[in-house]
């Protein structure tokens, strides 16, 4: 049992209620997950609460978590986003508008495998941040409302006072551009498998 244990090994140990393994997993991903939660909720107490709920779920459900290499982080991110957006909704007393929500994130089994190499994760993060910042302001706006705030296309159209078709168009362009920027290190991720 040491720092080089991969996620899968850690989860197996956590399933046996090994608190050292939980701590190792926590240490490994504290920063990336906290940063993501904070990006959404913009409040350190709320972000901490999201983190707590996430690790509670890891602790309680570890025996059911059976991901291939690199997928644990993807799953943790997806749960983090759901929890954080829930938090926003409660805070602003937002109507759910029967949104499919980030729920469909959870539903999909074939998540991408993220690298478990922290340096690579950091590099990937910088790259995608650059790609986001490279989007037009309009594209950033719709992506932000949808991705970080959990609004539906219709809500975005209402709130930003733009036609629905425009929302779709901006999201489409934004996603295409982001996908393009991911391509080359996407391949590198696969090389690990």
């Amino acid at each position: 049992m040491n720092d080089t244990a991969d996620d899968k090994q850690l989860i197996l140990l956590i399933a046996q209620k090994d608190s050292n393994a939980l701590e190792l997993l926590y240490d490994r991903y504290e920063r990336v997950i906290y940063s993501f939660a904070y990006q959404i909720v913009k409040d350190s107490m709320a972000a901490e609460e999201v983190m707590q709920e996430l690790f509670l779920r890891v602790w309680k459900n570890a025996e059911q978590i059976d991901f291939g290499r690199g997928k644990l982080l993807t799953w943790m991110f997806a749960v983090t986003r759901n929890l954080a957006i829930d938090h926003l909704r409660k805070r602003s007393s937002r109507l759910p508008q029967q949104s499919a929500d980030s729920g469909n994130l959870d539903m999909i089994q074939d998540h991408t495998a993220l690298t478990e190499d922290l340096v690579e994760l950091q590099m990937a993060g910088e790259q995608i941040r650059d790609a986001l910042l490279g989007l037009s302001r309009d594209q950033q706006q719709v992506m932000d409302m949808i991705y970080y705030q959990g609004y539906t296309q219709q809500e975005v159209a209402n709130l930003a006072a733009i036609p629905l078709g425009t929302v779709k168009g901006r999201v489409r362009l934004a996603m295409k551009q982001l996908h393009k920027s991911l391509r080359h290190w996407g391949r590198r991720d696969h090389a690990h498998e």
């Binding site: 509670l56 059911q64 539903m107 790609a131 950033q140 296309q153 999201v171 996603m175």
Partner: protein, 281 residues
């Protein structure tokens, strides 16, 4: 669905981002099954989505957070926020969501997630807690798929393994509509029984439930003959509620939801709101 084909193809990005309503999501998912272009787009965009969290600006965790979180998590075996809910096993149960709800509502200025973007302040609207939307969508999709793509078990398995993802080899045994018990009740819902390698699970999703007051909860019962077994409690918000319960496969003939004065009952005390006959195949 074919007349809307092109319209639906336009929804791939929004689907992956979760920006569709539950209904649109179900429609798109059904469409994408038959549309190879959409299928490919979805898998491309999912890559983007899965990497997006990494784009967050690095934020400094508050001091002492690690100790607080680890100690609370490790103590969680004793101090559970959940109602006496027997052996629930997925993270999509409403009880888990409640731990966050108790937070007093603060409203710090909503900044925007993306650096440099400027977005209008979200409009205040009616409160509606999310009990477990992933679950709701899973059940909805389940119905759609049972109706339209009967036999496509693989797809079902992927779609219903919501919430945690880890469920493997899920098998849908039965979905039944819950009927209101009595004229005065306008509630409706569905009960789904699914089996996977970890056991048999009951998924309840209900809406238009009567408002709860005080300590009242909704309680779910699996009934064999005259013997009800407690399958856990949930609370509703704006009439919506959901529950996930794992149990040993056994023959039950009825599933029922009652309105109980509190969450401490081992036998039904209150009125039945919804019920349906079940049989496990």
């Amino acid at each position: 669905m074919s007349e809307h084909k092109d319209d639906l193809c336009e929804l791939a990005e929004l689907y992956v981002l979760g920006a569709l309503t539950a209904e649109e999501t179900a429609q798109f998912a059904a469409h994408a099954e038959a549309c190879s272009e959409c299928k490919e787009l979805v898998s491309e965009y999912r890559q983007v989505l899965d990497h997006l969290p990494l784009a967050s600006e690095p934020a400094e965790p508050p001091s002492g957070m690690k100790d607080r979180i680890l100690s609370r998590v490790l103590e969680s075996g004793h101090v559970s926020a959940s109602a006496p809910q027997p052996k629930t096993s997925l993270n999509i149960q409403p009880a888990a969501e409640r731990t966050i709800e108790r937070e007093p509502v603060k409203a710090p200025p909503i900044e925007q997630g993306l650096p440099r973007a400027r977005i209008p302040e979200p409009r205040k609207t009616r409160f509606w807690g999310y009990l477990s939307l992933g679950l709701a969508v899973a059940v909805l999709l389940l119905i759609v798929y049972t109706g339209q793509l009967r036999g496509d078990v693989d797809q079902l398995q992927r779609q219903i393994a919501s919430g945690t993802g880890p469920l493997q080899g899920l098998k849908v045994n039965e979905t039944v509509a819950l009927s209101p018990a009595g004229e005065a009740v306008s509630a409706k819902g569905v009960a789904t029984i699914v089996a996977d390698t970890s056991g048999t699970h009951l998924v309840i999703q209900a809406e238009d439930l009567p408002e709860l007051t005080g300590t009242e909860v909704y309680q779910v019962w699996l009934i064999k003959g005259d013997t009800p077994q407690n399958a856990g409690t949930f609370i509703s918000q704006d009439g919506n509620g959901a529950l996930y319960y794992s149990f040993d496969p056994k023959a039950y003939d009825t599933v029922a939801i009652t309105l109980e004065p509190d969450d401490g009952g081992d036998a039904p005390r209150g009125q039945i709101i919804l019920a349906a006959p079940i049989k496990q195949g």
